[in-house]
């Protein structure tokens, strides 16, 4: 019950923030950005595999959200609504990039900052050099495998496995049916299982 009450408070305050945004309050929008910027960036990064592109696309998504927040009616959560914008922006960008035939996707020269989920509560020693290298190789394998999926399949698998979104939320974010989401999830999993079987079997 405690959790439900807290969640309800969060929801109400989020709706309040949205209403303030609709009245033109940029500070309220800033609070929403602070809430979602990391998740939005991570989601886009996992789709495009380049920090600079992910940064720019995150900015584009939030600007688009600000410009169209007047049309948000609260039928879905703000989170789902902004994910729809994020997905539209990112998938459009990926399609254009595919059409242009731009070079390799994995050209990110910037080392990503990595935060372990438990790092805030548990002291953890830095990984040893060989562990770090192994982790980097695993990540490269995963990035390469995800890059072989279509933008729509990438979006579905990431929203399901990383964001733990429900089918209907994914469907809403992508503007497709639940059946399409499940079907895409089926093929995305199959492909990744084939490409990464040796990776997850050896961990």
């Amino acid at each position: 019950m405690q959790t439900e009450a807290t969640l309800a408070q969060v929801d109400v305050s989020e709706l309040d923030l949205v209403k303030q945004c609709q009245a033109g309050n940029t500070e309220a929008f800033d609070q929403l950005v602070t809430r979602y910027r990391t998740r939005v960036f991570a989601m886009i990064y996992n789709m495009v595999h380049n920090e600079q592109d992910a940064w720019d696309l995150s900015q584009d998504s939030f600007v688009k959200a600000w410009k169209s927040i007047g049309r948000f009616r609260g039928r879905s959560s703000f989170y789902t609504w902004i994910y729809r914008i994020v997905m539209n922006v990112t998938i459009d960008w990926l399609r254009k990039k595919q059409v242009k035939g731009a070079g390799a996707e994995f050209n990110d020269a910037i080392q990503l900052k990595e935060i372990e989920p438990a790092s805030r509560t548990l002291p953890k020693a830095d990984p040893l050099p060989h562990e770090r290298m192994e982790r980097s190789e695993i990540r490269t394998r995963i990035d390469n495998a995800i890059a072989q999926l279509s933008p729509e399949h990438r979006a579905v698998i990431l929203m399901k496995e990383i964001e733990e979104m429900q089918y209907h939320e994914i469907a809403e974010a992508l503007g497709c049916s639940i059946g399409t989401v499940m079907s895409r999830l089926f093929y995305a999993r199959k492909k990744l299982q084939n490409l990464l079987k040796d990776v997850y079997e050896n961990i």
Binding site: V33, V63, W66, E116, I162, G179, M182, L192
Partner: protein
Amino acid sequence: MKTFEEKWTAWIDGELGGKELAEFEASLPNKAAAEAEKHDAYKLGALLKEQLGARALSNEDFFSHQLRERIARESGPFREPSLEASAWWTVRRLFFTGVASLVLFVICAVVVIREKNPGEQSQYLTQILNARIDPAVSPNATISMFETKEDKVTVLWVEGLQSLPADYAAK
């Protein structure tokens, strides 16, 4: 009616229940292989979560700062309307200048045309009467009638008439 792919996905994610679950599991040709694949799907999910779930946005404050700047630049509450208004005024001025020029041109054209044809708008109305003059008697004779409508005066102008025929009579 769900497709096999939809049922399989729902089964992997634990979304199948009751009769639907029993029917699906009964339809699997090799239950052990399916269970192994389900286990693989869990491992894949865990791997993705572990490796991709911790991507962080560096320079979060700068991200927000840049976004604020961009929003103010692209859709600020005051700047954009004023720019829009100034652009609109320029277009309107151009439009009015065009219309004024056109009106001035028409007025000038009318004045010039009037000056070139002053007789057309004379206060006198000239009418050539349907006069029947014998060409043998008066070959160059013309008869004109000038009428001032305001003063109700009519002047009959006869020219070149050498002799007035006897049958002519004023009516």
